[in-house]
Amino acid sequence: METAWQLELRPAAARATILALGGRWRMAAGLPAPESILDRLTPGTRRLGFDASRLADWDSGLPTLIAGLQKLCTARGIELDTGGLPAGVQRLLALAQAVPEQAVPGRSGGSAGICMRVGAAVIEFARGLPAMLAFLGEVTLAFGRLLAGRARFRLRDLWLEIEEVGPRALPIVSVISFLVGLILAYLGADQLKLVGAQIFIADLVAIGMVREVGALMTGIIIAGRTGAAFAAQLGTMQVNEELDAFRTLGIRAVDFLVLPRMLALMLMVPLLTLYSGFIGMLAGLLVAVTIFDIGVFEYYTETLRALTLTHFLVGLSKGSVYGAMIAFAGCLRGMQCGRSAAAVGHAATSAVVTAILLITIAASVMTIVYYQLGI
């Protein structure tokens, strides 16, 4: 088998060396570093030439190596004569050097330090706030038009969205709610056992699921499932210039695209919240009956005693607010999307992050407000 590259340094005239290349000079088999070649030269060499008569085979690795040699030779004041190389190598070298390297504006070299990047992120966030407020204003105006009966969107779109965000989310909401209900029951039972009040598992799970956890879990699931989808849909429409087409026709994209999505989520997330609470309570019942020996009927009456209409209303109000926030974040990021495939991915990610951030803030604020109001 033929070996990989072979290199022989042949002294020529005074202070000149011929590099005789032999064998296969291909990237797959590995190539010598340009520095190592120059290191082998007799000190004081002023000229380098090539002899490629025994060169069997080469690929673009060879011209790459020669280009590296050229740079080093220029720096060290060595004259490099590429005349002895195969014609193909010479042509590739000429092609690569036809357009000199350009200093492209706006591409500062090197990566910024951590402080720079944190600073840039903060500035970007601050710059995003006015846009968010402007979008909030637009959406509010759109709802105004909706109430006045002047908003234009197709009811069919609303139904499609409702179907997509509601019934189709039931399986995942069921699984998560069941597991969370299970966790709540175990956690509570462990503590309540200390005071012998295990029956209050029912209260804990019912109130916890209906008031807080159901809405929160549903919100986070829907943010990941639907918020991201909204951003990706609208972002793709931005890439395809569909949003521009709306704008040039004077049709409000906010009415046509954002309203049905907002309405769908504001209607469906509260319903999913109720459902989530119900499934959570079922899980609590299962734990209470099988692990902690509480009777089914006992658990049932205790749950009924604990749950009041207020708890339901609190849960529903949270669900609506979270739904609105998910739709807001998804549509905002979608409409702000850039004009590339990567931008769509970024919009979807950003929508989920924004939605979860908004949900968390809203959850804290509403919990505190309801507590202070004694609701």
Binding site: M237, E241, E242, T248, L249, G250, I251
Partner: protein, 250 residues
């Protein structure tokens, strides 16, 4: 009294923030002309088009439609002017959630007093004009690139606009399909008297359909030639000739 030019652009500068893509643009487009905005990649053709149709405010200068200043007009007036424009975007920009028929119907139901039955007829006729009769129930994703462009043209023509603005009609089309689209544009102009502004770098199309043109230069960031593309080819600026002959000496 002379009629004011159909489209009049004066001292227009377009760009992004501090970056001026094109400046000092002055040209007029006459009623019924096919006006070509040409230039190499990245010269600002599309940016100019976005300023013409109201998608991106210019940095300076004015765009007048029938003598009326577009960008300084009040919002409502601007939308009214905008409705006289039909725009065909590069990829067609059909609304992906709607069928072809619904795409063409939406502007009609928004801005005309037609009944649904009348709208359906207009839609069928416009789709037939672009050779897509019977495709009304298709969604854009089910169409080829050339069909999307023709459907986009049908939508742009929905409201019988005075001015049709077309961004890169031949991009992504094979030479024959591109030529058929060119012929369709000329046919629509001839029969309806529509003024057409075409943004393109497709030489065949420029020379085949252009009545008048402006050449935007990427290096000097301004226009360096106006006039009939064939005049520009024969005795225009050397740079424009270089462009129109694909860099081959004639």
């Amino acid at each position: 009294m002379s009629v004011p030019p159909h489209i009049e652009v004066s001292g227009l500068a377009v760009g992004y923030g501090d970056y001026v893509v094109q400046r000092d643009l002055d040209f007029t487009v006459n009623q019924g002309d096919i006006f070509v905005v040409m230039g190499g990649n990245g010269c600002g053709k599309t940016t100019l088009m976005r300023a013409l149709v109201g998608l991106q405010a210019p940095l300076a200068g004015t765009v007048r439609y029938g003598g009326e200043d577009f960008w300084n007009a009040p919002e409502e007036r601007r939308q009214r002017l905008q409705r006289r424009l039909g725009i065909l975007f590069q990829g067609g920009a059909l609304w992906s959630s709607l069928t072809l028929a619904e795409n063409v119907a939406l502007p009609l139901s928004e801005y005309t007093a037609l009944t649904q039955a009348q709208i359906d007829e207009v839609v069928a006729f416009k789709l037939a004009l672009v050779g897509l009769a019977g495709f009304g129930d298709f969604h854009p994703s089910e169409l080829s690139g050339g069909m999307k462009k023709r459907a986009g043209l049908a939508r742009a023509m929905a409201l019988d606009p005075d001015i049709l603005v077309i961004d890169e009609p031949s991009s992504g089309l094979d030479p024959l399909t591109a030529r058929r689209l060119d012929e369709l544009i000329v046919e629509l102009r001839d029969s309806l008297g529509t003024t057409v502004v075409v943004v393109t770098h497709d030489l065949a199309s420029i020379l085949a359909i252009g009545d008048n043109s402006v050449y935007l230069d990427a290096d000097t960031h301004t226009m360096i030639a106006t006039g009939h593309p064939r005049d520009a080819l024969q005795n225009g600026n050397a740079k424009v000739r270089h462009f129109l002959t694909r860099g081959n000496p004639t």
